[in-house]
Symmetry: C2
Subunit: 336 residues, 2 copies
């Protein structure tokens, strides 16, 4: 069996309370007693049992993170941010992948709760108020992250999507494009962030003379969807003299780039393409994808920072934290 506080106490010839005091630095202990305890700890290789400690302090030093799928690079990036700053404050991360299933999300929330996690971060891809309500009922700090849908009044951290789409459109305009196609996703859900992005896109167009906008709805946000829409989009491009395609997510853009490659359409020579997100592949693929950087790492980092602040009773900023974006100018878009 492993060595406990009792063993240390015995060896150091003090009571277990004294041992506890030195390992927690919670109360004054005489120099010599402390030294004896320290020596005993060293000698026995004693490591406090965090489980026992958690039981009495009611602090598990665990933060639960429910994600859709660590295989998505943006999710991996968020988790990186979460883990790295969690670590700085001595919090460990318990990962649960829901693969988008709302029931699974809920089950995990309960599971995490029974593990006494001190806070929960939910990275979701569909709005699922049922789960959110469940978690809010726990009365522990909670941050909701969703790249596609509005978090409404829930604590979250994101970018200003209106501004992002606005800026990207402006950039395209600055390149000389006059006919820009925006590719959105035709989800009928009212809370889709596409609403804001389309507004930003339109606003940018309105600000400029002699340009025209076109909106196309793909049937999803993934690489597959981007590929599958290729034929129709290519047709649209021809019919309307479109010179730039602004995809609402990098994945869509990459899929479309693949379609172009497979069909002999040269990017950016024949058509400029840009994305949204700056997922890892955007800067690896050739041509490198021009896109707007949504700082996923920072989003994760700020999310957990907020949770920790609440746990430490520090002042927290407003519920919705906006992070700055950046236009990543690369080779998939050219001047016309």
């Amino acid at each position: 069996m492993s060595v406990t506080i009792k063993d240390v106490a015995k060896l150091a010839n003090v009571s277990i309370s004294t041992v506890s005091r030195v390992i927690n630095n919670s109360k004054p202990v005489s120099r010599e007693a402390r030294q004896r305890v320290l020596d005993a700890i060293e000698e026995l290789g004693y490591k406090p049992n965090q489980v026992a400690r958690s039981l009495v302090t009611r602090r598990s030093n665990l933060i639960g993170v429910i994600i859709t799928d660590i295989g998505n690079s943006y999710v991996a990036e968020m988790v990186r941010g979460v883990e790295e700053v969690g670590r700085m404050y001595k919090y460990d991360i318990v990962l649960s992948s829901s693969y988008g299933n709302p029931n699974t999300e809920k089950k995990f929330a309960q599971l995490l709760m029974s593990k006494q996690v001190e806070g929960i971060i939910l990275v979701s891809e569909k709005p699922n108020w049922d789960v959110i309500e469940e978690i809010e009922g726990y009365k522990i700090p909670f941050v909701y992250l969703n790249r596609y849908y509005d978090s409404l009044d829930k604590p979250t951290v994101s970018i200003d999507n209106y501004e992002a789409a606005f800026e990207m459109t402006k950039y395209l305009l600055s390149l000389g494009h006059k006919n820009i196609l925006y590719v959105t996703n035709n989800e009928d859900n009212e809370t889709s962030l596409e609403k804001f992005k389309i507004d930003g896109y339109i606003k940018a167009l309105e600000d400029t003379e002699g340009v025209k906008g076109h909106v196309y709805s793909s049937s999803g946000f993934g690489i597959e969807d981007g590929y599958n829409m290729g034929e129709e989009v290519a047709k649209l491009i021809k019919e309307n003299d479109i010179t730039a395609v602004f995809c609402c997510q990098d994945e869509l853009a990459i899929g479309f780039l693949n379609y172009c490659y497979d069909n002999g359409i040269k990017v950016p020579h024949d058509i400029s393409v840009c994305g949204y997100g700056d997922t890892k592949i955007a800067s690896i693929y050739r041509p490198r994808l021009t896109t707007v950087k949504e700082p996923y790492y920072d989003i994760g980092a700020v999310a957990i920072r907020r949770i920790i602040k609440i746990l430490k009773n520090e002042e927290v900023e407003k519920e919705h934290i906006y992070l700055p974006i950046r236009i990543m100018e690369r080779e998939s878009c050219r001047k016309v």
Copy 2:
């Protein structure tokens, strides 16, 4: 405060033992008592405190996973496998990213131990016997995963690298290539898996008449390294009539593909390129990368399965488990 077993007992008018029995199904309980308990649990929304439970059962249902960086897609894929099968057996995963630092690895191992994890999976990119020894000292089930270096006699799961390189070379040969360049990494470390891969490559060449082998050492395994070696490799290709480049990792291949793109070298028209790993990007990039599939998901899955088997005292197979590979024939290699 949250509801405890006592509250349930009181409401159901039974002792806490009875409640414990019904939630654990550990001993017979009369139908009516069970029902009363169930009702009480339902009414109070009782969830057993896993921390308390862990303290007495000494089972945390936690498995610690130390990784280098979840941002590497092959790592993410392994973690997926680990998490998904862990979940099937009701184990949660505690993630720790070392970013390759051996001291961090060791610190995390200790941390995980104090959290009473029941097993540890270490995904490493350098051989670090110090950490391995530390973990082995814990006497809990342990699996060591390393994509680049030999695990020697440590419990691990991998592919047969000799065979994989052999098969890929055979495939290239079958395409008609007679001058194949193998790109390895010049680590001087004796335990590099490159040793086996180069052997497999050479063996395949030896089996065939009139073909020639060339080996080039890059300065790393990453995309950057693949890019940076581009110029030298391009020169080698010219000088030796090389028609195919076999890179020891996908990342290297992708980097080289990028170099080719940026320098007007057409793949596979001018040169065939293949990789090793089948990381996510291999099938997304254009041209899609011909490569050997190292089943990362399965590796993770089998690794944790082994740990769980040990935990359940089930029979476990030998220490080193080999998983089958597959040649992924795609467009980056052509017939000559």
